[in-house]
């Protein structure tokens, strides 16, 4: 068996699946192994099937695959749910002493390890630790040094007291010893450790961390899956840096509070998901016309309407790109992996202030709830640069006043960017409005001024197009005639798919695009390729439509919209099939 291990714990929501999975993920990370997690969860608090899956290797892992090696099954349904991914060598750990599990049939040639999780947990101090017993058992099956689990337990329970920690360590050892003594079995799995230091976090946490690093001090939001983790991360942390999180009464309030804080001069943001973005739409235009810097994160989930709140989709691209009445200059930035969630959040704040526009940070559920290991350098705080744009101080105000000494906050400059005076600046008091306005910010219906202001605002986008680097990230063979393009969290699966394709002697050039608007001009790349495939998690191919429009040519599409992210092996198969298919020629 390869060193690439796929492990899962599954049971009913409320069984502590998530926290148990996270403890094991942390133990693996602390042992210098790479980790990539995924979650199967339903939109309910208790009951129903839920699972936490970990893929781990000493090499970098970027996606999930269709294989499950070790499964901790707290319910019989957990086995049924994962039957497709289990294989002959899989090991299933379950509590055969529980009445509902005693008649379980282990499919095929899989190995069933009946471990009395509950009884051993009680012996260690409480039935609540049954999942930890299972983790100890998993350590034995994989020859994984249990000291790494100890350290994850210390981290998890350290603040609950020494006895809780030692009870949990004891519970883990009981699971480990039970497997060692009862099962005279050479397992196929042997997990190496390394000396590497990794950090383990998910996309929402990376967005929150990026916000604090970028100087964001005000966050207003309304809880919504899967964006809530951003708010939960910031709560309790942003205060340490002089900031505040406000749980607003609704999304309309959230975005308007964030707008208010931004007008007061704070770096400010809100985060939501599809239904919340719909509610916030009213204010997009106000943010843009009042030229207020604001970061609006949309962590996408399956739509439309309430859709599938706990499932993956990239269906809001058009919404963030076109949402709102009238025409709104804006930026849409879509990080492609968890590390980029950090970097692009920092960048989003700089773009917002430099160009005084709304910046949409478009993330998706797969990335938001996925914990992934990174070298800590990926989150390099020393590399964080802050660009506050054209903020004028008391002395500079005079240069931007009209003949009556009135400050002109919407002065039409060559680059489209106006001077910005934060409230409190002397002699610069002014009004901003969602009404069309003149350079002073006052309402106008003057046709010439209207055109001047619309052009001025749009000029910011042109300036940004010229001044910033909107390049895509490139992988695979740069000379290949097969071009695959994706955006958002598909990057990881696609990077691994390149390896699968390579095994089939199919070479591919892969461009992962983190910028939707402005975006790189890919027409030459598309023109130069024989085959162009755009990969995205939606039905219609929203990004494919855009690229077709830009390059004036048809592209092939690989779309997935069943609520599950792309898996690397599956994606490779789809790409291969698409390359061979005759459909869609230019």
């Amino acid at each position: 068996m390869p060193d690439d291990l796929n492990w899962a714990i599954g049971g009913e929501a409320g069984d502590g699946i998530d926290s148990t999975g996270k403890i094991f993920a942390q133990a693996l990370s602390r042992a210098g192994r790479h980790v990539f997690t995924s979650k199967d969860f339903a939109s309910r608090i208790r009951g129903g099937y839920t699972a936490y899956k970990i893929r781990s290797s000493t090499d970098r892992v970027e996606s999930v695959v269709d294989r499950l090696d070790i499964l901790v099954a707290l319910t019989e349904r957990t086995i049924d749910e994962n039957l497709d991914e289990l294989h002959d060598g899989s090991v299933i750990i379950y509590d055969g002493e529980r009445t509902e599990m005693e008649d379980i049939e282990i499919p095929g040639d899989m190995t069933g390890l009946s471990v009395p999780l509950q009884r051993l947990a009680e012996e260690a101090g409480g039935a609540i630790m049954q999942n930890i017993v299972a983790l100890g058992a998993a350590c034995e099956v994989t020859n994984f040094p249990i000291e790494n689990l100890d350290s994850a337990l210390e981290k998890k329970f350290g603040n609950k007291g020494e006895s809780i920690v030692s009870n949990n360590k004891d519970a883990a050892r009981k699971g480990q010893e039970f497997v060692a003594e009862e099962f005279d079995h050479e397992f196929d799995y042997d997990l190496d450790t390394t000396d590497n230091d990794y950090v383990l976090l998910n996309g929402d946490e990376a967005i929150g961390m990026g916000a604090i690093a970028a100087g964001c001090r005000f966050y207003a939001g309304y809880p919504i899956t899967p964006a809530t983790d951003v708010m939960e991360y910031l709560t309790g942390r942003i205060e340490q840096f002089g900031g505040e999180v406000v749980q607003a009464e609704d999304e309309l309030s959230a975005i308007n509070m964030a707008l208010g804080a931004a007008r007061a001069g704070a770096r400010s943001m809100t985060a939501t998901s599809g239904p919340g973005i719909d509610l916030m739409t009213e204010t997009f235009g106000l943010v843009a016309t009042s030229e207020t810097p604001l970061v609006i994160a949309d962590v996408m989930r399956s739509g439309p309407s309430t859709g599938m709140p706990t499932k993956q989709e990239q269906g809001d691209l058009n919404m963030t790109l076109y949402g709102g009445h009238g025409e709104i200059p804006r930026f849409v930035v879509a990080p492609t992996n968890v590390g980029e969630c950090f970097q692009k959040t920092v960048e989003a704040f700089n773009l917002a202030e430099k160009y005084q526009t709304p910046v949409f940070l478009l993330a998706d559920l797969s990335m938001a709830v996925t914990e992934q290991t990174f070298d800590p350098e990926v989150f390099d705080m020393d590399a964080v640069e802050i660009d506050r744009g054209k903020v004028v101080d008391d002395d500079e105000v005079e240069a931007w006043t009209d003949e009556r000494d009135r400050f002109q906050p919407h002065f039409s400059t060559a680059d489209g960017i106006s001077p910005r005076a934060l409230p409190g600046t002397e002699n610069a008091a002014h009004m901003s409005t969602g009404l069309e306005h003149n350079a002073l910010g006052r309402r106008t219906e003057d046709t010439d001024v209207r055109i001047e202001q619309v052009d001025k605002r749009n000029r910011k986008v042109e300036t940004a197009q010229n001044e910033e680097d909107w390049s895509p990230r490139e992988f695979g063979n740069p000379e290949s005639d097969n071009l695959v393009i994706s955006w958002g969290s598909n990057e990881g699966a696609m990077r691994e798919a390149l390896d699968y394709l390579d095994e089939e002697d199919i070479d591919v050039r892969f461009l992962s695009v983190p910028y939707i608007f402005p975006r790189p001009d890919l027409s030459d790349d598309i023109e130069a390729a024989d085959e162009v495939i755009v990969v995205e998690c939606n039905e219609s191919g929203q990004f494919a439509d855009i690229l077709e429009h830009d390059a004036l040519t048809r592209v092939k599409r690989v779309n997935k919209y069943n609520g599950i992210r792309f898996k690397a092996d599956e994606l490779a198969e789809e790409i291969e099939a698409k390359l061979q298919s005759e459909e869609v020629e230019a």
Binding site: S29, R30, D197, Y198, V199, L200, L201, E205, M209, I212, A213, A214, G215, R217, F218, A220, R237, E239, Q240, F241, G242, E244, A248, E249, L252, S253, A254, N256, M257, L259, G260, A261, R263, A264, G265, A266, R267, S268, E282, S290, P376, M381, D382, V384, I386, L422, P423, G424, T425, E426, N427, A428, A429, H430, M431, S432, T433, G434, R442, R443
Partner: protein, 287 residues
């Protein structure tokens, strides 16, 4: 802040387009007087308004200001004040803006108790859309969209504020210039969310709730020996549908504003040139 600020310093050079005789003139003048009297100047004042006749106020006043979308002025004001506690934040709205589309925000702004002042220009009608019923219109008030009256009782904004835990609840009449300015001044001086419902008659579309009507019916709480710190007394007055009161109905003298409760005293606009000191701890947390 400078001590020689006059209320006219808060006036912009833009002539209001309110109808001649509109109650909003008096409402705005009182707000400007109150701001000057409390030692504020235009550079440290932020005025927020929504949509409608009331929404135009930011244009006619001189200060930092935002004219936002319909009904959302209070969240904007909340963001401004929390981000920079040095600013004096004044939010203006109308009865439609505040009690209809923005009713949810109103209740939550009241209970959040951010230290700002909210003046609602209540004319009991939709003026700018030319005469439809508002949430404070009388049950039998005939309009273009309610030919037989709204057939539902009016909202009692003072009762909403009291039930939501309001710490300063007042009502004034825009034409009673001195009293109105004095009430708004007390709202500004209050530590917390100062709410003033201002009778601000619409001379064009409302022929019921007129200047004469208010002049004849208004009762000043000072003449009634009302104790504004007595919440039960306030409740009785607020629920008395037969009278139009002017004055401070309720003030919680123990009120602790949101910023104090949450230890927010710095200007959030002041940030370092790079990641803040201690930011590496955020990364270490994930080891």
């Amino acid at each position: 802040m400078s001590s020689d600020v006059r209320f006219t310093d808060f006036k912009s050079d833009k002539q209001p387009t309110w109808c001649p005789g509109c109650g909003d003139f008096g409402t705005m003048n009182g707000m400007m007087k109150a701001l000057a009297n409390t030692g504020n100047d235009p550079d440290n004042t932020f005025v927020v308004a929504g949509i409608g006749c009331s929404g135009k106020i930011g244009t006619y006043m001189h200060s930092y200001a935002l004219h936002g979308v319909h009904g959302r002025a209070l969240p904007v004001g909340t963001g401004v004040k929390l981000a920079n506690p040095d600013l004096e934040v004044m939010v203006a709205g109308g009865d439609g803006d505040g009690y209809s589309i923005g009713a949810g925000h109103f209740i939550h702004a009241v209970r959040r108790n951010v230290d700002m002042t909210y003046c609602v220009m209540d004319n009991r009608i939709y003026g700018l859309t030319k005469g439809q019923a508002s949430p404070t219109s009388r049950e039998d008030f005939e309009t273009s969209t309610t030919p037989e009256g709204p057939k539902q009782p009016p909202v009692n904004p003072l009762a909403l504020a009291l039930s939501a835990g309001g710490s300063f609840i007042a009502q004034s009449f825009s034409t009673d210039a001195q009293r109105h300015a004095e009430i708004v001044q007390k709202a500004i001086e209050h530590d917390g969310f100062g709410f003033v419902n201002v009778f601000s008659p619409c001379v064009t579309f409302n022929d019921v709730d007129t200047y004469d009507y208010f002049r004849d019916s208004i009762v000043d709480l000072d003449d009634e020996d009302h104790d504004p710190t007595d919440r039960d007394a306030a409740k009785d007055k607020i629920l008395d549908a037969d009278k139009e009161y002017q004055g401070i109905l309720y003030q919680d003298e123990e009120s602790v504003p949101y910023s104090d409760l949450h230890g927010l005293d710095s200007n959030m606009a002041d940030i370092p040139d790079g990641a803040p000191e201690g930011a590496m701890d955020l990364v270490r947390e994930f080891y």
